[in-house]
Symmetry: C3
Subunit: 157 residues, 3 copies
Amino acid sequence: MSELAELRQRLARIEDERAIERLIASYGPLVDSGSVEATAALWSQEGTYDVEDWQMRGRADVAAMVGSDAHQGLIGRGCLHFHGPAVVTVDGDDAVAVCESVLVVRHESRNVVARTGANHFRLRRIADRWQITARVTRTLDGDAGARELLTTGIEGR
Amino acid sequence: MSELAELRQRLARIEDERAIERLIASYGPLVDSGSVEATAALWSQEGTYDVEDWQMRGRADVAAMVGSDAHQGLIGRGCLHFHGPAVVTVDGDDAVAVCESVLVVRHESRNVVARTGANHFRLRRIADRWQITARVTRTLDGDAGARELLTTGIEGR
Amino acid sequence: MSELAELRQRLARIEDERAIERLIASYGPLVDSGSVEATAALWSQEGTYDVEDWQMRGRADVAAMVGSDAHQGLIGRGCLHFHGPAVVTVDGDDAVAVCESVLVVRHESRNVVARTGANHFRLRRIADRWQITARVTRTLDGDAGARELLTTGIEGR
């Protein structure tokens, strides 16, 4: 490979990783502001979001979650889906990312950490844009499944 | 554009975004350690900081906030201005960034989430250094203004 | 320096900083999933970890901490070592990084912010991989030492 081609490849890798980091860092602000369409657009057409007792498939399902009474109620009281820095592993047009999160909800003028989260993302480059094809979020309550999301995510699996 | 010039441009864009990410990630450590001058230096000469009931204009105002009895009292008890990863949009010498945050304050040997924050930054490259020209921080308590900071920030407005 | 050599140098700097950011962002997921070996491997052979009343030296000590009854008890109840974005300063094969953190622990079905943290890292490139040679973590409870970790970390000292 020429020196220039090698630089181009290294740069492209950083751009890919950063695009995914940005996508994940956008989730909290979008979902906490109740941005229905923009949140849904983070997922691919058939992308899934499995969060505890809520199973979504496709953008319409994600949009419905953001627009739901349950979520809009959280926003009305004040909520923060606070996500830490993602660790991203890119392999061609596929990627895996992982991060931790807390959900802070306002309750009677106090802020309560309602939930902690282990977040595992599968992403795919579709139509030149990274999109979530599968996200799984689990509470860190000692459950082995939640811990497994973290280890596989760090390993890029 | 030559191939080399294009690579240079892409690299410069990443450097700009990273410089701003670093600036924002520095805010918490600086303000929690009570670094008066270094915190103020994140702002431009006439930069503003509008946080709830506190309106600051210029570095002297930011320095006064960090040095104030109110803020030094927080530091003395123990506080953490914990900011998440920023989403940055650069347009030439101007930029917009957004991130979420929590303020954790120690209170009678417990740590209380005293406030959640939506943070919207306008920045400008001045004398070859990115500086905050306007920061607005609002509590996420259901208020439409706070939610608007998040959506405009993600859109780079 | 040729134009190409200069681009290469700037790119390498970003790669170094990002490798360290990734290493630090991996700590929480690894320690919260109880990954004994992978957590220990973030440190150098003789690397130290000084966290409040726990002094570790070498990977075996870090591994022992992760595997300890105290830490496994935290994981069993549910814990989140939530770290914010790191500010990294690289100087050749040495680096300094700083970030803030909170430890959230599940306690009787509530999530408690058990500790806030100022985290100062010294790292070294050894065998072509960044490794922690010294980490110091202190609670932000008004203590001058904790605040000093933040200021020196931001200054890259």
